[in-house]
Symmetry: C2
Subunit: 344 residues, 2 copies
């Protein structure tokens, strides 16, 4: 069995769910794929959890909280790049930090260091990819390593796998997605009669929306995802300011009610549409009316969905995929398996 | 650029669409994937089209028909296995024969010969896979070659890619699919008020159903697909007689009308459900009532769809994908690209 060292950067909801999932799946991964993943370090901004051997989630958290004070595994000031540098090439970085969409940090430095050291990288955080995908892809190619980021592009909904792998050889002629579960939940509740503020409050009460919901309802999360999906599937290098973003903040109930009366629904649609004659693509996020026959019309609640329009396969739509930390963790693990398993 | 010889077995609608698509996509495949596929031979039961160099579709057909009489490229009695044997390892077999579901022939012999000669194989025809998938998989593994068959498992709807690649690491806990476009078209028209015979006749008039529609409306096409998808994604070895098959032949309008009144719809659902305590899976094809909230409820007309239920990613649904020879050709080409392109 192949033993593969992993370093997890960031230990929020997704990082924790990943380490737990790995423990739950250990036997299954050995049996089905011949792979033994070992978490060698968990890195935070101020230091690393590290023992020199495989870490357990219990060595990193206690009572549900990250455990630094008095934890013998905690090394304040130890940089994750030192640990990656100590290892032979061929490990995997699992990037889960809450990264900055303007600087891409700290993920950008972590991923760059991993690729330069001959490590593969999988990412659930978007910042580094939104800021630096073309450079990171070039670095991966130069070092003969892989960079995969299903976890950052709708996670359990396999947008990138389908766009890159399943649609290989087709010409993608358009992409439309409902890529943010929180805003879709709010729109669904509004279509059922709630006002915007009521629907937002319910989403917050149920842990679906954050206390500061602007990233979701302002359309920025969707914008990051359509940007990453477009750049990954079309091999383009658009940047976040190329995306025209209108969120659902304060959307009036009349718009949604009148849509409902016409048998249509309002969705926060993220779209990528080709320019004329091979020109630049238009990237947009905005509340949009869609017909009941549209393949995304029945994507409700916290569900997500994406439709690819192609020349030779027609339109292919994906819906579902769990929108929670476990789903994101499963997407990270899927990417790791597909990097390390034998060809199939 | 990498030059790859191909042999196409069978030259019906799908084989022809494949050769045409390859010509259409030549530059694109070179530019995007660095791949140059060359059709070296087209094989039929009685002989091969073969010149020793790359073949053009015009050397194989004339006026829309297969051209044997007086065609200098046609070699009656030449076996395709001789051509594969003359070549260095590493070419690709593109299996498109109308194969027999009981014997798997002639596809079974073609694929076996290709794999044994160190060639990779992609298939759109089901017979060989329905009859002999476990043996063929073992042969591929032994020879270090690949066998892919998206074209035989819903084609442009990427059922196998998602089940094997995108859901890697999850436990699949159930599969449900609308896998036959013809019967779904008939059921859709019946839900709009037509009687079974009227809907079938319309499907035949529009070229959607064959003159002898039993393969589609009897549920056998769906049965083959759910069998292949289950065996491929779960690494099982079920056979066609393990699938309980009830088609839609002669379905009464009352069933469909009463479903409609309750807001439900009738679909020819192919399902794979796990047995208790790790026992054998149940494979079924039968007309089924589904709720409007089911992710396949709005798959209408000739569309197909599939839902995978998983432990860690929730449910993931795919819908769409063109149901015609061009879609099948695109699925064959996709599999070839993913076999031959550099890892990504």
């Amino acid at each position: 069995m192949r033993q593969i060292p992993l370093v997890v950067t960031g230990f929020g909801h997704v990082g924790r769910a990943f380490v737990s999932l790995l423990r739950e799946k250990r036997e299954d991964l050995e049996r089905r794929y011949g792979l033994g993943f070992q978490v060698l370090a968990v890195a935070r901004t101020e230091g690393c959890f590290y023992t020199g051997g495989p870490l357990d989630v219990r060595q990193v958290s206690r009572g549900g909280y990250v455990w630094t004070d008095g934890n013998p595994c905690w090394h304040k000031g130890l940089a994750v790049t030192e640990i990656i540098g100590r290892q032979d090439p061929g490990g995997g970085l699992v990037e889960c930090t809450r990264s900055n969409l303007e600087t891409g940090e700290p993920g950008l430095s972590y991923i760059s260091a991993a690729l330069a050291a001959g490590w593969h990288a999988v990412a659930a955080s978007k910042g580094a990819l939104v800021v630096g995908l073309p450079k990171l892809k070039a670095a991966a190619a130069e070092n003969g390593t892989f960079l995969k980021f299903s976890g950052a592009a709708a996670a359990a909904l396999p947008t990138l796998d389908v766009g890159i792998f399943s649609l290989a050889g087709t010409r993608i002629e358009g992409i439309q997605g409902i890529l943010n579960g929180t805003s879709n939940f709010i729109l669904t509740r509004m279509s059922e009669g709630l006002a915007y503020d009521e629907a937002l409050k319910e989403a917050q009460d149920r842990g679906i929306a954050e206390a500061d919901p602007v990233h979701d309802v302002g359309g920025w999360d969707s914008a990051c995802k359509i940007l990453l999906i477009t750049n990954a599937c079309l091999d383009t290098a658009y940047v976040l300011k190329d995306v025209h973003v209108t969120g659902i903040t304060g959307l009036g109930p009349d718009f949604i009610r009148s849509a409902g009366r016409e048998g249509r629904s309002v969705k926060l649609l993220a779209t990528a549409a080709p320019g004329r004659q091979g020109g630049r693509w238009s990237l947009d996020v905005r509340p949009s009316l869609i017909e009941a026959s549209h393949p995304l019309a029945h994507v409700n609640g916290t569900e997500k969905g994406i439709t690819f329009l192609t020349d030779s396969m027609g339109s292919v739509t994906l819906t579902g995929g769990r929108s929670n930390p476990r789903g994101a963790a499963a997407a990270l693990l899927k990417d790791l398996i597909n990097i390390f398993r034998p060809p199939f």
